[in-house]
């Protein structure tokens, strides 16, 4: 069976020119065109990620290194309430750290999308402008899923497990990805606000303390009192605590309201951030693309 292609180019002259009507178009408009444009740009983002892997690798490797270092070097000397397994305690915090560091790639990616000369070409074409943001958000969520899978795999290798049912397992994943979604929109907002080179110097000094002043590595109860309160109210703490609860991993103690309602707050915090970041990002993008 042969199904040969019917299209053949004739001469150089007719290939170069021709009228607009001769070019076969999908005819998609509105939301359909916006979606198809998003998919085209998503593919571009994926190719970028595969061909230029250093930057995204770093934001994944740093937390994984931290998990191995803390787990094996300090693991013996740090005691967690209720259990002796520090490595089991660590993993939730490490995944959240990966989600948070990812913000840097999101922001620099978004900044580059709107800075580079190719952006000028995009804007001279009948492309849905929103596709630039949608494709970025989709790509960053896919990356978040892949990274979560990688950290979980490494976790399993070093002896982490979850102790509850699959429902709880996936609820925790859902909570982690909800946080990721909120941070993605934070990254989009940042990327639309500052140039790409400014992203890392802003994100890392901000995100590193945020991940440490939380329940990720030590219990807030053991911090100086004012710092402990700040750590407990850190959205990262709620997500980390909720994840540990759902996976049946050792957690931190505390009887404040915020600690007692970790699972509720693990949903509320990201939603609050989304309500803040999404409209601001859209407004910012309208201004940038005006």
């Amino acid at each position: 069976m042969t199904s040969t292609s019917t299209s053949t180019s004739t001469s150089a002259e007719t290939t170069l020119v021709g009228t607009t009507a001769e070019v076969e178009r999908t005819g998609a408009t509105g939301a359909a065109k916006a979606w198809s444009d998003s998919m085209v740009l998503l593919k571009r983002n994926v190719i970028h990620g595969i061909r230029e892997p250093i930057e995204p690798m770093l934001s994944l490797m740093i937390p994984i290194m931290m998990m191995l270092l803390l787990g094996y070097v300090f693991g013996g000397s740090i005691t967690v309430p209720g259990s002796a397994n520090y490595r089991e305690f660590l993993i939730a915090g490490i995944i959240v750290m990966v989600m948070a560091y990812g913000l840097s790639n999101t922001a620099s990616g978004m900044a580059r999308d709107t800075e580079k000369a190719v952006y000028g070409r995009f804007r001279s074409m009948p492309m849905a402008a929103s596709a630039l943001v949608t494709s970025r958000a989709l790509y960053e969520m896919i990356r978040g899923v892949v990274e979560t899978v990688i950290v979980i795999a490494v976790g399993l290798l070093i002896g982490w497990q979850w102790h509850n049912d699959w429902g709880d397992f996936f609820s925790a994943i859902g909570i982690l990805l909800l946080l990721r979604l909120a941070l993605v929109w934070g990254g989009i907002l940042l990327g639309l606000t500052v140039p790409a080179e400014a992203v890392s110097p802003i994100v890392y000094p901000l995100v590193f303390p945020l991940t440490v002043i939380s329940s990720s590595f030590v219990a807030p109860e053991r911090m100086p009192e004012w710092l402990g309160v700040a750590a407990e109210w850190n959205p990262i703490t709620s997500v980390v605590n909720a994840t540990r609860e759902l996976w049946g991993n050792p957690g931190v103690g505390g009887d404040s309201w915020i600690v007692q309602n970790a699972q509720l707050m693990a949903v509320v915090w990201p939603l609050v951030l989304l309500v803040l970041f999404v409209p601001l990002s859209i407004r910012r993008f309208r201004r940038v693309s005006a």
């Binding site: 150089a12 999908t26 444009d37 085209v40 571009r44």
Partner: protein
């Protein structure tokens, strides 16, 4: 010639960047199926004009229509009908050449199959088949420009904008671009191109507008413009500096204006009109009769600088004198 529609109409466009008035009442009318040259020195507003006409930039006042659609109110209709090659190559650096063209094709609304086919055709035409699978980072400047041009032709645009399309190209690539433009126009595309070279505008454009400080200061065919400033130039380089005065005297009689003397180069230039060879022969003979030894003599098109001097009484880039009255 059946219809003589207008492909581009711009009326009184004003656009400022902070305190810089990049366009200051820019007017333009381009007939469908013709090549229009926008000629101007650095900073005169060429790129800004292209950006405004291609929906990339909004503007403060005025209006513009491309192929009958209003740039401000119907940007999507305009975008479906134009192609743009900006001053700097606007392609994705990480993707390879083919991936770029397919991506742009899809974003133009082509079906996946049409986008693939179009990419292959254009790669072929622009001599990029071998480089098609290489990442654009590895392309030379000229290859990038060619890919950029290919991208602007994906949807076979009704109106094509080229912002300094040949800057940075070697003579061979430049000729490819020129012949490409001619082929497009033959098939009915309207082309607006900007350039700093009168030579290029002269070669390609049916009409030319000279842009200065965001305004069109002269408009017409290449011949009309040249006759306004006196046409071609004869350059004479003398063997001896002592002959400068006498040679200038001789050339004044042949040329149409006051000869410009550059003593350091032992060079005299004068504007001439009429058949180029005849006038050159006349100049050679007259200098010879006067016993003046010329080291070099030639006739050439005026440079942009000289066009400027002729039109404005100042060199391109020099500030305007308030006192000068036209």
């Amino acid at each position: 010639m059946t219809t003589t529609g207008t492909a581009i109409v711009a009326k009184g466009i004003r656009k400022s960047y902070g305190s810089v008035q990049a366009l200051d009442g820019f007017d333009l009318t381009v007939t469908t199926g013709t090549v229009y040259g926008l000629l101007g020195p650095n900073g005169s507003g060429k790129t800004t004009a292209v950006k405004c006409l291609t929906t990339l930039s909004g503007f403060d006042a005025g209006s513009a229509e491309i192929a009958g659609f209003d740039v401000t109110r119907q940007p999507d209709e305009v975008r479906k009908r134009i192609g743009l090659t900006g001053q700097y190559a606007a392609v994705d650096e990480i993707l390879n050449g083919r991936e770029n063209l397919v991506m742009f094709g899809r974003l133009y609304g082509l079906t996946a199959r049409a986008a693939d086919r179009r990419a292959d055709e254009l790669l072929e035409h622009f001599d990029l088949v071998e480089a098609a699978k290489r990442s654009v980072v590895q392309y030379s400047g000229g290859m990038r420009r060619r890919l950029d041009l290919a991208a602007s032709l994906i949807q076979a645009p009704e109106v094509l904008f080229l912002d300094e399309p040949t800057t940075g190209l070697d003579p061979r690539s430049r000729n490819q671009v020129w012949s490409g433009v001619r082929a497009l126009v033959k098939a009915g595309t309207t082309v607006l191109l900007t350039t700093q070279y009168l030579e290029e505008a002269d070669q390609l454009a049916d009409r030319i507008a000279v842009l200065d400080n965001g305004k069109v200061i002269a408009e017409g065919t290449a011949d009309e413009l040249k006759s306004r400033i006196g046409g071609d130039q004869i350059d004479v380089v003398l063997r001896s500096e002592d002959d400068l005065e006498r040679a200038a005297e001789v050339l004044r009689r042949i040329g149409g204006g006051e000869p410009q003397i550059e003593p350091d180069d032992r060079k005299i230039s004068v504007v001439v009109s009429g058949a180029r060879i005849a006038i050159l022969t006349e100049a050679v003979r007259a200098l010879d009769d006067a016993g003046i030894h010329a080291e070099d003599i030639g006739v050439r098109r005026p440079t942009l600088d000289e066009v400027f001097l002729g039109l404005t009484g100042r060199r391109a880039g020099e500030p305007e004198l308030e006192a000068t009255s036209s």
